[in-house]
Amino acid sequence: MALLRNSALQGTITPEMEQVAQKEGVSPEFIRQKVAEGKIVILRNTNHHNVVPVAIGDGLQTKVSASVGLYGRNTSISEEIAKIKVAAEAGTDAIMDLSVSGDIDTMRKEALAATSKPLGTLPLYQALAEASQKYGSSLKMKVEDLFEVIERQAADGVDFLALHCGTTMDVIERAKREGRIDPLVSYGGSHLIGWMVHNGKENPLYENFDRVLEIAAKYDVTVSFADGMRPGCLADSLDGAQVQELVILGELVQRTREAGVQVMVKGPGHVPLDQLKATITLQKSLCKGAPYFVFGPLVTDTAAGYDHISAAIGGAISSWAGAEFLCYVTPAEHIGLPDKDQVRQGVVAARIAAHCGDLAKGMPEAVKWDLEMSLARRELDWEKQISLAIDPVTTERVWKERSGDFSSKCSMCGQYCAMEIVSQYLGNDKKHVC
């Protein structure tokens, strides 16, 4: 089967392109052209049979991704699968299985079967974990082991692979030289750096990048460049190490596209409000318009316990500025692993951010959604307000808990509802309240 990107380049509109075009309310030709330009990626592995393809990129609605995964002895596959279901219910567009321990193969297979959402993984974790089992130390992982895991995961049907291809020795040395405050913020990146330093070897994902491309091409997996040097605090944002890694990723974007493989780039992290637009502009310029998948971004380091809010602020402005894919942040960030409720909160907060960005960009669907909600509000149509809400379940619960046992429809204003009072004079409604 031809690669999606190559089909697009040859002028062929594939069924996947038709499918996502319909969902997004754009023409298939628009999708084809942007896939050809590399500005849109369609997540779907040819081996992921139950997947509903999702398109991410320029001119499309901003998407969100939720991360789950096995981590240490207090996690179980069934619990993580339950989180996937919660995230899907809450409206995530994609899932990442970031399992680092336990039966990672089974977890991934169950995750792929459990959802029709595209699934991403970070194969380095499994390669390191297996090396630790096999050789007694993750530092003894062989390059061969890493590629074997990448291939295994791709063959299973993973739709996008997160790979730290740009975290080179040069980049690491710069981070050290410049005195980065937090050089170990990327979990996978930190381990990779340790492996490189210990073995005195260049990053195998960079050195053997053609092998990455071969595997990705075989299954039409989208490559998602992970950033080993994402800023982990405001003070590290847009430092030399981050920018240098981005320069390298820009070069690799070019090579990936030439190989007919779809590619997106992962980014921040912690970014001060006034550096968000610059961060996106820089990525767009250096990576030639490749979709930008940003974690958060968090606009302060001090909101532990509430980082889904900090991330919603940064995510909304980033989405407006051109980031097309938001990796959720849960209230458990910087504290521990999220439970199901925190997964839900993380997805909803990221979706709010994505929507605020789309609204600011004037995307017709987003504008229409806000308008319909406000019309329902004006009509005091509670059923409709609930059904239009981004999280109808929570909206209905909060409304019932806060207002359900009172005589008025809404206890906020009680009898003195502004909408109701004014509608007597400005609207058609003749309800008498005064």
């Binding site: 321990s101 630790s132 007694g136 130390s137 993750s138 981070a175 050290k176 405050i181 050089p183 170990l184 930190s190 381990h191 340790g194 330093v197 605090c233 405001l234 003070a235 590290d236 912690h270 001060p272 409000l273 006034d274 302060t300 001090t302 909101a303 532990a304 316990g305 809010i309 900090s310 602020i313 909304a316 402005i317 504290i335 521990g336 709010i352 951010a353 929507h355 609204l359 600011a360 959604w369 806000d370 004006r378 809400a389 999280d391 909206t395 409304w399 806060r402 009172f406 008025s408 809404c410 206890s411 906020m412 204003c413 003195y416 502004a418 909408m419 004014v422 004079y425 400005l426 005064c434």
Partner: protein, 426 residues
């Protein structure tokens, strides 16, 4: 003498000293800002309280919490608990928006319990009492309005939202151009109803001098109420809003001339792409006095999560010049907030304010984030707890922590540990 008149006379008041010390700026900067009207210090002459703050240009953004009874729920004791929760969460002021039960008693309770500035919307009480006394809001007399304002000022309120910037000119524009959500301000709706019913101009606009005399007597900060604020993103920056803003500007000028401290209230629902323009227009049309905003809510579609939509809009607006953020709770659009909602609202708004402070002033806020980052690298949980905007979740995590630091990927020999050693942070 009001703070403004003192400042213009070159006099540095005790309140200016306190604000300068808090903000780590020269007291002359504060005096000058107060004299020009770019900074206000809400502090009623009649009220003593422990915490003073300044609001305006060059200062950290402040956060306001709303409390108060409604006709559906008038439990003063619950409002007292909400007040305590909001202060603990770090709000800088309250507005008591009571419309139910014993409104006088409720206000006096708020004034006595709060250690921060307290504001109100006197038109609520005037309107509700008009229903009780005369059978309808629209039967309220101009004297009812001014007497309520005077009574509340005498009780010690530090700032008051007063819907003076609404007149027939604004309403005609609204009728001509149309809107999705006409008037979402409750005070604005009372006044709109009153004006149409009585076919009379807004007394708070017409007799603005009478209002200024009261504000001046007690040195109450006049917060020009935003009767015509957009209640949906579709209405943002429409003709009616701009008309209202221009009227507010006229009134600001008069207030400044009269030696009254003044700020202007703003939206409401504003999409991200309108925020910078909204801020610029307000500053330009209202003589750079502080801008006090509700939200902004960056979208209409998230009832149950409006503390988050408000944090998104508030942070960006703060970066663009908003000085004072009124919180939103998860109960916004759905009901009267509980104690837990109030806490969530204050925390979300403080996150927005802090993120904006980092961008607008670097000083102070930036260092705090840097210290937090260093505490994280050093795995110093106690220091993180000290530095967090709200430490409740960190404290819970600390209590549950079993101290096991074994790497989930690598076991004992952790690759990331090698990296840490390389960077000299092990």
């Amino acid at each position: 003498m009001t703070q403004v008149l003192a400042a213009r006379a070159g006099k540095i008041t005790e309140e200016m000293e306190i604000v300068a010390a808090q903000e780590n700026v020269d007291v002359e900067f504060i005096r000058q800002g107060v004299a020009e009207g770019t900074i206000v210090i809400p502090k009623n002459k009649k009220r003593d309280r422990s915490k003073i703050c300044g609001i305006g240009k060059g200062l950290d953004i402040k956060v306001n919490a709303l409390i108060g009874t409604s006709s559906d729920r008038d439990q003063m004791e619950m409002e007292a608990r909400k007040l305590k929760a909001a202060e603990e969460a770090g709000c800088h002021s309250f507005m008591d928006l009571s419309t139910g039960g014993d409104i006088d008693g409720m206000r006096r309770q708020t004034l006595s319990l709060a250690s921060v500035a307290v504001g109100s919307v006197p038109l609520y009480q005037a309107g509700v009492e008009a229903i009780r006394k005369r059978g309808s809001i629209v039967e309220m007399t101009p004297d009812d309005m001014f007497e309520t304002i005077e009574k509340q000022a005498a009780d010690g309120l530090d700032f008051m939202a007063i819907h003076s910037a609404l007149n027939f000119d604004v309403l005609k524009t609204l009728q001509k151009t149309g809107r999705v959500t006409d008037v979402v301000s409750r005070g604005g709706s009372f006044m709109t109803g009153w004006m149409f019913h009585n076919q009379k101009e807004n007394p708070l606009y017409e007799q603005f001098d009478r209002l200024l005399a009261i504000m001046k007597e007690y040195d109450v900060v006049l917060s020009v109420g935003d009767a015509i604020r957009p209640g949906s993103t579709a209405d943002s920056l429409d003709q009616a809003q701009l008309k209202g803003l221009m009227v507010a500007g006229e009134l600001v000028k008069k207030a400044l001339e009269a030696g009254v401290q003044v700020m202007v209230e703003g939206p409401g629902h504003v999409p991200l792409n309108h925020i910078e323009t909204t801020m610029l227009l307000q500053k330009r049309l209202c003589y750079n006095v502080p801008y006090y905003i509700l939200g902004f809510l960056a979208t209409d579609i998230a009832p149950g999560y409006d503390h988050i939509t408000g944090a998104i809009g508030g942070a960006y607006a703060g970066m663009c010049g908003a000085d004072f953020l009124c919180y939103l709770t998860p109960a916004e659009h759905l009901g009267l907030p509980t104690e837990e909602d109030v806490r969530a609202g204050v925390v979300a708004t403080r996150i927005a304010a802090h993120a904006a402070n980092i961008s607008r002033r670097r000083q102070g806020a930036w260092e705090k984030d840097l210290e937090m980052a260093k505490a994280r690298v050093a795995l110093d949980m106690d220091r993180q707890i000290e530095l967090a905007i709200n430490s409740d979740k960190l404290l819970e995590a600390k209590a549950e922590d079993d101290g096991d630091q074994t790497c989930a990927v690598c076991g004992d020999k952790c690759a990331a540990q090698v990296a840490a050693e390389y960077f000299g942070i092990a």
